[in-house]
């Protein structure tokens, strides 16, 4: 039988739906009976969402501008190299 520790070991695979159907079923059965593990899975999932929210929308306008400048400079000496290799 799947214990709490065993569930914790495969919790990310459960969240990402990477378990086989037998494992998936045993996690679901355990979660029905165990409040602690329900909290754990919920919190681990929340931590994952937190990371997604944390890193999105942190684009750096100044950095983009500096890259634009560098690219524009490099394009001045652009040649259609694809044609040279014919």
């Amino acid at each position: 039988m799947l214990m709490c520790k065993g569930l914790a070991e495969i919790a990310s695979d459960y969240i990402d739906d990477e378990l086989n159907s037998r494992q998936n079923l045993s996690v679901k059965m355990h979660l029905m009976m165990c409040k602690h593990c329900r909290t754990f899975i919920g919190n681990l999932r929340a931590s994952t969402d937190l990371l997604k929210a944390h890193s999105s929308g942190r684009d750096n306008e100044e950095m983009i501008r500096r890259i634009d400048e560098r690219v524009a400079e490099a394009l001045k000496t652009w040649t259609p190299e694809g044609n040279n290799t014919e």
């Binding site: 754990f40 919920g42 919190n43 890193s55 750096n60 950095m63 983009i64």
Partner: protein, 206 residues
């Protein structure tokens, strides 16, 4: 899930890049640089990472004609960045080492009894939405701090997979890890974030 660039839009963008079209480069730089920076950031500090991304764009200008579209453009760009970073690591003799043998974080593992049940169960439920939590600047800073202490490979795996929503297969390619090792990396990193948020919620301390 890929970026907002649709496949046919992407292929016409690639055609324009191959022609050296300045507008196409402006668009591509805006679209793809944040993700490229995220890849580089795990090997380098902020200024080093930005320099690498700039260098990579110059490489791209010279190499885009060789791009055959077997992978998506984003994946191709991220691989260029990852390879440049790895070469730089090699040049400075820095090693990226990882232990794939343990799936549980030691701190979390210590919270179970020998019969496999919780001895120190999760204390509270994270109620607030991720967006609400991120408005808490102290928590956001704390997350940054903890991300920076994660082993490089864990951090890279986590960010590429979660934040930049790469498919597992692409993350494995970019980082040179097997699919099962990627699962370990992701799980270990998520546990660390879980432990950090729990401590922060409970004590207000990072």
């Amino acid at each position: 899930m890929d970026t907002s660039v649709q496949p046919d839009t992407e292929s016409s963008l690639i055609e324009d890049l191959k022609k050296g079209n300045a507008t196409a480069y402006k668009h591509a730089v805006r679209e793809y640089s944040p993700g490229m920076l995220a890849v580089a950031r795990f090997y380098q500090d902020q200024s080093g990472a930005e320099e690498i991304v700039q260098d990579c764009w110059v490489t791209v200008i010279g190499a885009i004609h060789k791009f055959e579209g077997r992978s998506g453009l984003k994946t191709w760009l991220h691989r260029i960045v990852a390879n440049r970073c790895k070469n730089k690591l090699r040049a400075t003799n820095r090693e990226v080492s990882t232990d794939f043998s343990e799936t549980l974080d030691p701190e979390l593992a210590s919270r179970f009894k020998s019969n496999g049940r919780w001895s120190l169960p999760p204390k509270l439920i994270f109620h607030e939405s991720a967006d609400t939590l991120m408005e808490n600047e102290a928590l956001s800073d704390c997350l940054d701090k903890h991300l920076s202490t994660l082993p490089e490979t864990q951090r890279s795996a986590l960010m590429l997979y979660e934040a930049h929503q790469h498919k597992s297969e692409d993350v494995c390619n970019i980082l040179d890890v097997s699919a099962s090792n990627l699962r370990v990396l992701l799980h270990r990193a998520r546990q660390k974030i879980f432990l950090m948020v729990e401590t922060f919620q409970e004590t207000g301390e990072c």
